[in-house]
Structures are given as C-alpha cells and as structure tokens.
Symmetry: C2
Amino acid sequence: MKKSPLQIARQSYQPKMPAALLGQVVLREGQATQSVADQEEIKALFPNTYGMPVITLDAAINGRPNTTPVNVGVILSGGQAPGGHNVICGLFDGLKKINPKNKLYGFLGGPSGLVEGRYQELTADIIDEYRNTGGFDIIGSGRTKLEEEWQFDKGIEVCKQLGVNAIVIIGGDDSNTNACVLAEYYLQKNTGIQVIGCPKTIDGDLKNEMIETSFGFDTACKVYSELVGNIQRDANSAKKYWHFIRLMGRSASHIALECALQSQPNICIISEEVEANNMTLQDIVNQIAEVVAARAAAGQNFGTVLIPEGLIEFIPAMRRLIQELNDLLADNEEFVAMEGDDAKREYIKTMLTPMSCELYRSLPKAIAKQLTMDRDPHGNVQVSLIETEKLLIEMVGKKLAQMKGAGTYVGKFATQHHFFGYEGRCAIPSNFDADYCYSLGQTATQLIVAGKSGYMAVVRNLTAPAAEWIAGGVPITMMMNMEKRNGKMKPVIQKALVDLNGKPFKYLAEHRKDWASANSKYVYPGPVQYYGPTEVCDQPTRTLLLENA
Amino acid sequence: MKKSPLQIARQSYQPKMPAALLGQVVLREGQATQSVADQEEIKALFPNTYGMPVITLDAAINGRPNTTPVNVGVILSGGQAPGGHNVICGLFDGLKKINPKNKLYGFLGGPSGLVEGRYQELTADIIDEYRNTGGFDIIGSGRTKLEEEWQFDKGIEVCKQLGVNAIVIIGGDDSNTNACVLAEYYLQKNTGIQVIGCPKTIDGDLKNEMIETSFGFDTACKVYSELVGNIQRDANSAKKYWHFIRLMGRSASHIALECALQSQPNICIISEEVEANNMTLQDIVNQIAEVVAARAAAGQNFGTVLIPEGLIEFIPAMRRLIQELNDLLADNEEFVAMEGDDAKREYIKTMLTPMSCELYRSLPKAIAKQLTMDRDPHGNVQVSLIETEKLLIEMVGKKLAQMKGAGTYVGKFATQHHFFGYEGRCAIPSNFDADYCYSLGQTATQLIVAGKSGYMAVVRNLTAPAAEWIAGGVPITMMMNMEKRNGKMKPVIQKALVDLNGKPFKYLAEHRKDWASANSKYVYPGPVQYYGPTEVCDQPTRTLLLENA
C-alpha cells in the first residue's frame, strides 16, 4: 500500500506516556464514590457498579507477577475521532507487555460486531500499520446501541466462544453509559466479563470533574482552526468577503469556542449563550449585522463568523417550531399526499401556533422547506442538515438592506460559506491526541488485568508534560444522573455543554468586542505540526489550558 | 498582535536559496530568443523587449561594485497565493544586501496602487512581520488590469515622485503579459523605469519550457490534499458516504490532478480530457455511476470524487448552452421583467437551439436557474458559482435510480459535498514555496540592478535541493503568442492546461482504474510540515517530480 511521507514518518513515533505507566504498575484506590445526582435511583439501577472507588495508577517497586493470560475485545462506537487507533495500540502494547500470551480482538463495525460475532484478532503486524494514524478503519465503527438484554446475552455467547474476559468500549457519553449498563449486567449474571470505557468524541462534550477532555477534540479543533485561520488571512488580504463558517459538533459549542480561542474571528456564536439569553434567530442576525455595519463604516467589508452546528436547536423559538413541525408532520399522510410546495407551505402555516407561524414565515423559503422535507426515520427534522451558514447569510443580507435604507449601513456584503466537519474527524492525531490515546489504552489494560469493570479509563493533569500525567479509572456511575430520553427517565452520563461561567467562554466574552472591531485580531494557527519546537507541537487545546490555569 | 506558536516559530525560518545567490552574482546571457508562436506580430508589438537573451545568474568571484541606490516598487496582482510575502522579503533582503540605501516601496491594493499613487515604504520592521507568512496582506492585492496608456502615464508620474527605478509585478499570466506591455512602453518612452514579473498562481497554469511551476501551487495543493486525505480516511472508516469534492482552479485542472496524485481518490475528473474526448455532462455522470455501482457490488458504498472548478466550461455542449444563454439574456429586459421562475424557464426553452434546450431541460432545476440568474456585470453566467459537486450528485443519483430499476445497481448512495479554495490560497507557505518565493525575490533584485526590463524572474531545477536551483530571467515576450480576447487578437502568455501527453496525467490514467476499484488505494498526505525529516518537509509537488523525472 502506498503511503505519504508523513504517514511513513509517523509510524515510528513513540507516544509519550505518564511516567507511572512505563514500568510495573500498582493500583491505588480512593474513597467510595457517589453519582453526581439522583444517587438513590442510580444506586438501585447499578447495585454492582455503584460507589466503587476512583483508581489511580502508580509506579510499583515490585511488579505484579505474570497474570493468567487474558483475552480482550475492543469496540469503536459512534463517530470517528483522531486517536482511536492509538487507544487500540496502547491496549495491545499494554497487554503484550504484561503477558505475551494476552490477546486482543477487535469487534468489527462497532457494537454490532460484538452482538453478531464479527471480530478479528489484532496481531502485531496489523497494529503496526495503524500506529499514530487517523480514522477508525482498523476495525470500523458503528452506531448500534448496546441497550437490550438479548444483545448483552449474544455478547456473552460470543465472548465465551473467544475466551474474551474483558471488553473495551471506545465511545462518547451514550456509549459509555451503555458500557456501564453492560458491565452491571455481566456482573449480575456473574459472567466474568469485564467492561471498560474510553472517553471519545471530537465534540468535546464528554468531560467533567474526572475527565479533563475527550480524545479527538484536540486534533479536530486544530484542523478546523487551521482552516479558519487560512480563510481569515484570505479575508484580510482580499478584503472582499464575509466568510460564514459552520463547525461540526452536534450539540455543544465547544468546537466553535476552541476554534475562536485559537483564531480570534470577528464573530463566534455560542449556542449555550443564545439559549441562556433566550435569543431569537432575528436577535442573532441583528447582532451580526451590527458588527458588519460597524466594520463597514471603517471601510472593512470583510470578516469571519463561526457558527456551531447545533445552533438551531438552542434557539428557544426555533426549538418550539421544530417541535410543532415534528408533532404535526409525523405520520401525516394528508401532508405527504399534498401536491406542490406552495400548498404544503400554506397548510403548515394554518396548523402552527401564531408565534411559530411568524417565525416560519420569516425564514428563507429554502430553509423553511428543508424543515418540512428532510426528515429522519422517526419523522423528525434533521437539524444537522440545515445549512445555518446560508440561513444567516440570507437573513443578515436582508437586515443590512433595511439598514442601508435607513441610512445606518454603507458597504458591500459579499459572502462565502463553509462547513467543516469531515475534514477533521479522521485527521492524523496531533502529538497530544496520539500520546493521550495511547496512554488511555495502556491505562485500560491495567484496569483489566486488575479485574475492574464499570470503569472508564482516564488520564488527567493533561496540561503538564506527558510524564506527569495521572492515569487511573473512574466508576462510570459516578458521572451519571437521571434524564428523560424518549419520554422515559434513564441513567446517563451528563453531557457537558459550554459553561458560561467557565474560563474559556469568559475569555471569549472579554475579547470578542476587540476581535469584532475594524482592527481585526486574527490569529493564524497553521496546520498541525508533529515535529519541531515543543510549543508548536505539543500544546493542548486553549480550552484545556484555560480550564487548568 | 497575538500570534500562534507556529507563526512565531516560522518568523525565524531562513529560506534556502540557490548557491549562486548567496554571495556576489554575475549575469550570464544566452542566445537571442523568439516568442513561442506568432513571432512577427509579437516582435512588431514589442520592438524593445523582443528577442532578449535568457539570463542565468552565476556566482561571481569578483563582486560588482556597489551600485547607485535604486528604489523599487512592488505590486501584488490578482488572487492570493502562498509565498507572495516571501517574494517581497527576498526582494527586500536582496536590495539591502547590494546597497543598504536601496529602498523598497509597496504599491497598495494591487496595480491600482501604482496608478493612484497609493504606496508605503517597506522597512525592515514591516518586512520582519511577514517573513514566511501566507496572505497578501502586507500591501494588499487587486484585480485592476494595467492595460491602458493613461494608467502607464500615471505610473510614470508616481514613480518619478518616488524616485522609483523599477517595478516588480507579482502575478499570473495576464498580469505578467501586462508587465511586459508596461516594460515595453516605459522603454519606448525612455522613462528609465524597468519592469520585472514574477510567476504567481495557485492554479498552476503559468508554466512552460522556462517556468517549471508558479509559486503557491505547491502549498495550496498540499492543503487541499490534506483535506481530501482526511475525508478519505473518514469515508473509509464510516463506509457511509460518497464525498464529491470541488477544487479551486479557474480553468485548468492542475490542482485536481496534483491532489489526485497525492491522495489517490476513487475518481478524479480532468476537464482537459473531457474536452478532448468531447464528453457530455451525461457521459461524466455515467462514468461516475459505473464506478459507484462497481464498488457497491463489492459492498463499498462510499468513495471520493475530485472535481475541477472549471469543469463546466470544458464540456463542449455546456459551453454552447452557456454561450447561447449569454447571448440571449444580455440586456434582455423582457426576461428581467418576466414574473415567476416557471415563466422564465419556459421562455428560455423556446429560445434555445434544440440541442442546448435538451441539455437545459436535463439539468436539475436549481442549477438551470443558477445559469440564468447569477450573472456578472457583463451579463455572463458566473460559471465559478455553479456548484458542480451538487449538480453531479443529483445527476448521478438519478442515474443510479435508473440502474437500480434495471437491476444493474444494488446499493446505497448517500453523499456529502465540499468545495475547497479559500482554505489554501493564504496558507503558511510550505518550505518549498517559502524557499522558491524568497529565491524569486532575490533573483528579481539581481535583474533590476543589472538594468533589465521585460523579464520574468525564474528559478529552475526545482526538484533538486535548493542549493542547486538555477536562478535567472526569461524575456516575457519569449512565452507569448497571439490569442483572441474579447474579440480582439492580443499578445498573451500561453496558459498551460493539463497536457494529456504529460507524465502527471499519464500517471493518473494508468492508475485510476486501480484507485477506483473496491480496494481503494487512498493515500493520506496529512498537513504541511515545516520541521522534521526532509522527505516530509521539503518535497515539491508530485506534478513537478513526474515532469522533471
């Protein structure tokens, strides 16, 4: 297989690790723990995995004796994130170091690989091909949810056949919740199969007191920031376009915020703030138009706007409209049978509440149509398909035309739109993610050989040099609370939205007026560097630096 | 001003240069030259700048005595390309080395800066801020064409005021043609003002016997290839989407070709081949659909398609349709006054020739509308605004639906679309472009102090280590022929389209079947690296390597 020079060079990169993991390791256990909320309910649901202590891995003076061989199965769950392959490499190296007879299996195509018994043994020659690479292609990923008992039981069969003693699930908040449900079930059934989770997601919304950041967030944000920076340099050179840039991140605005901290755009919308201030779409449009007008007054008819992908759902009025449309159009055969866009549009207008109707009418037609046409299998609006960057361009353009009429705006408003997501999910992991993920894999190994289950592997103190990182395990129940999902109360790991009282957002809030001014303060991060000065190659995210400061 | 760690680190990068430029330099002149075609006409139009010898710069044993101080004015013309700042830095350092009293002025905002007398002296503190940076923001660029005598005369006035003896124009084929017209005019008028050109454009279409590559092509293609590679790794991991990726490059397909050579996508369309084979849009659609179907038959419902931005204009039937629309709709008040899209559509159908009408009807409605709505100030269709990637997605989808009906296709066709252009034009220049551009600037200096005019600065032998590069000057007239522009025959530099007999295209043609197969051969170039192993950091483009092989 042909490889690029960088692919070849990266194969021999040796990830940095916490010093405690370099030799023999001993587990230190802390106090019993509690869930972050709803302690009674969570405890009742997880009698075997509730209240376990936090674990820290320390260097041991006397090594543990060689253990009985273990077989481990690993699963990649959900969307890709840079570094997934390195978690698996860390697992593999960790297992082989402890006992060369240990084996690692990969379940293929995500959680369904476990249920359907599709797997492959991961041997040294395979692993070596994937060291420090992006993508999840080593075993593939999938979005099947492990939620039902028949799935768990199927998993037992498959594990028994393979002699698998432990499963490592690499995934986001939901996948880790399910990992804990699985761990609990396997303990209740006394199967002897352990389950360990690993915190993955570029969205950055799997973090809390115990998890400083999910892996992949660093690399993805650096790729997007490279592109935002390049576009800003172009904007500042051509002085011709406003660039509206939508950034992936299903719900929370961590990615947009981090990219803003790295590149200092003229405007960055934060969904959580929009919601907290009960802003309307028009409020957002007006805010942008004001900045455009102020810069135009100084002769600067260009700029950049960062838009988090999840924005629409954080605008309370939009959320109500979408909810009404979901209720109205689910299984609505009358609507489906209707002929012509105009007839459908009129029908919808008669059925909405007055407030939602007004909002619906104010939207550009193409977007309004998108809200009623592209629906998921459950009949719901597919919010991620809405091109918010185009919606805002159109509405800001309209607002500026009004302002021009009123004499409050003189300028040109030429635009370009961008959406970045797939460009970053499978990038070659940054040194940070390569090191962090490899350490997570090695940490998971230690939890497994110590017989632990229902834990997430964690590595902390991430703004220090890697040697000083602290590895360990956190009981997944500790991060849970009860939330309503599809109408039922369920135990889930709390999703971390952008904290409006946190230092990263506060930094943005303090500086954005300056960044929006006619003297743009663009920063140009450039592409991820793997070699060269450490301040260029080994920096964690600005979010993490501010949070740990 | 806040800077990223990479911005700070790159400031101190010392570009590599041809060994001949390191110390004192002597000019070696070759034989008299001829234009590539239309020798009589070109000679008549350029009596003073025709037939001049090619110049090579050699290291001198005895240095030239310190010359009288010269003042040089530099202009950035047209679209941004990575490395423009380094040309200016090379010019500055070259001038100051020869005589610290030499001065460099930047004309602001492109050629109009010369005509309107907007300039700024570029001093060491300014220059140092822009070393090895992307963008054209040091003095700005612009698209004003220097074509008319009143502009030239205004330029003389401004130069006299400033004491400017020489102008360096950094631009593409048109700007360099105009540089030569200006040089000729200034010689005829005996103004004592020299004019030197520099070959810039990310499009890669300014190259010939004497110019191996234009600057910026290397960096821009590397940025786009990084993104294509990342998307391919995602496609290969998620196994869910066909990604249709349109790549900037106004006319020629060099960028798409180079990105294909770097990343080995499943499909890469080359406009020049489409034209040579007189292909229709439907032919292209059918070819893509066949690859999609073949991969689907092997269970691979994903892939990548690279689409050159200029494609539409290379499809003979589309070109005819666009020409008819341009003729039909220019100043057509009847059409403008017409109400409703459907009425307009019907009107157009009645006015087109049968063949063009059929093509028009076959296009997705949104695209057909785009062809008639978004027009430039001259009434012409703005081909660059047509989202060819969406056009192809829609038409391939239709074709696959037919094939499904006929039983020749079984699979899912889910898609994502991308357009990359602004992401690469202002990237931090690669080592190659940083070195090449700095050398071009130093070379221009040498041509100036030797009193030359009507030359383009060139650096050749670019696949060898920089020390072995060969610097010199080529008479611009040598690259000219006569072409019809806006109805009139004009002397212009020949634009280089992709040579279907050249090694880069042949390499693609030999390998594309393999790349399209179910065993994708994706290569993942990763981001531009500035530090680390030389094979990772200092490689020129694959195009150049194949051409110079």
